[in-house]
Symmetry: C2
Subunit: 214 residues, 2 copies
Amino acid sequence: MGELPLTLEGEGRQRILAAAEKLFSDKAFDAVSMNAIALQAGISKANIYHYFPNKDALYLAVLRAASRNLQKLLNDAVDAHGTVVEVLRHFARCHLQALLDRPELVRLVWREILEKGAPRAREFAEQGFADVFSALVAVLESGQARGELRADFAPALVATLMLGANVFFFQSRDILRHYPAVGFADDPAGYDAGIVEILLRGLIPESSADTVRA
Amino acid sequence: MGELPLTLEGEGRQRILAAAEKLFSDKAFDAVSMNAIALQAGISKANIYHYFPNKDALYLAVLRAASRNLQKLLNDAVDAHGTVVEVLRHFARCHLQALLDRPELVRLVWREILEKGAPRAREFAEQGFADVFSALVAVLESGQARGELRADFAPALVATLMLGANVFFFQSRDILRHYPAVGFADDPAGYDAGIVEILLRGLIPESSADTVRA
DNA sequence: GTCTATATGTCGATAGAC
DNA sequence: GTCTATCGACATATAGAC
C-alpha cells in the first residue's frame, strides 16, 4: 500500500531479495510460496515476476548475493595486507564473523547443499562460491610461488580445510558448547586464531617434517 | 502376517529403528509420521509404542545408534595401533569412510543440528556424540602427555578440526567436484592423507614455529 | 466458519512361547 | 496361565480447503 514512493532503481528488487532470504532461511524451498514472499515484502506476487522470471531464479539470486559477500571479504583481505600469511589470518577471522553475523543465510545455503543432491549443487557451484574458492586458492598459490608457504601441498585442499573449519564451527557450536573440553564455543576469534596457528605451523617451509613419517 | 516366528529379543525393535532411520533420513522429523514408519517396518503403529514411549524417543534412539558406530571406530583404532599418530591417521580414514558409506544417516544427523536450534542439540550432545568427541580428545591428550604431540594446543580444538574436515568434505563433495583446482573430490583416502599430513606437521613438537610470528 | 484429512498417542483384545 | 509382541479401532488436536 502507500509506502514511500521511492523510485530508486533496485529498491523493489532489494526488498524482494530480503524477503525471500528471510523466508527461505526459515523453511525449505518447497515450503515457501511466492505468495508468502510477496506478503513478507509488502508487494504483490505479480511484482516479483517483474523482477525474476520464476521461483528458481529468485532462489539462485539469493544464493548469489550471499556469495558476493564472501568474495568481497577476501578481496579486502588481499588489498589490506602484505604477506600471504596475514591475508589468511585476516580472512579466516572475517569469514567466521560473517557466518556468525547472518546465521539464517548460512543455514539457507547449507540446506540447499544438504537437501537437494547434485542438480542444484552444480548451479550453485558455478554461480555461487566458485569465485571465492578460486580466489582463496589463488592466494595460497601465490604464497607458494613466493616461497612464503611450502610448495608440497595442494592449495585447494588447504582452502577446503580453512573454509571447512569455520563452517563446521558455525554448524556445531550449539553442540560443542556442551562438551566440557571445549572452551572456544563462545570465542570464535580464539578458535580461529588457534586453528590458523595449527595450520600455519604445518604450512611454513621451515618446519621439519621428517619425524612424522612412521 | 505369517512372518518367521522369530522370538529373537530385539528383532522387532531393530526393524523399527531401521525403518525410522531410512525415513528420517529422507524427510524432516515433522514430515515423517509414525504411521509411515510402521508401514515401512511392516508392523502396526501401536507396536512402535510398545518399544518406544513416543516419537521423540524413537528419534533419539536412531541418533544414538548412529553415534555408537563412530565410538566403535575410534576404539578399534586405539586398540590396533601403537602411536597416537597412527591412531589419528587410521581414525580419520575410517571416519570419513563411515560417513561416505551411509550418507543418509549423516544427512539425518546434520538436519537435526541445522534445523532445530538449541533445544534438541543439547539432548543430542549428551546422548549422542559426546562419547566420541571425548574419546578423541582423550587420544590427543595422551599424545601430548607422551610427548608425541606438541603440548601447546587445545586438544578439543584439534578434535573439532579433524571431525570438521571430514564432515565438510562429505557435505561439499558435490560442489567441490566442479572446481577445477580440486582433484580430491573422488579420492577420500587421498584427501584424508593430505589433511592429516598438514595437521601433523603442525602438531609434532619438532617443527620450528618461530618464523610464523609476524 | 465448518469440514475433512492427517497427526500423535491410547486402549483393550488376541495369539503364541514358555 | 502368564507374559510379551502384536493388532485394529479409537480419542483428540490441528492444519488446510472451500
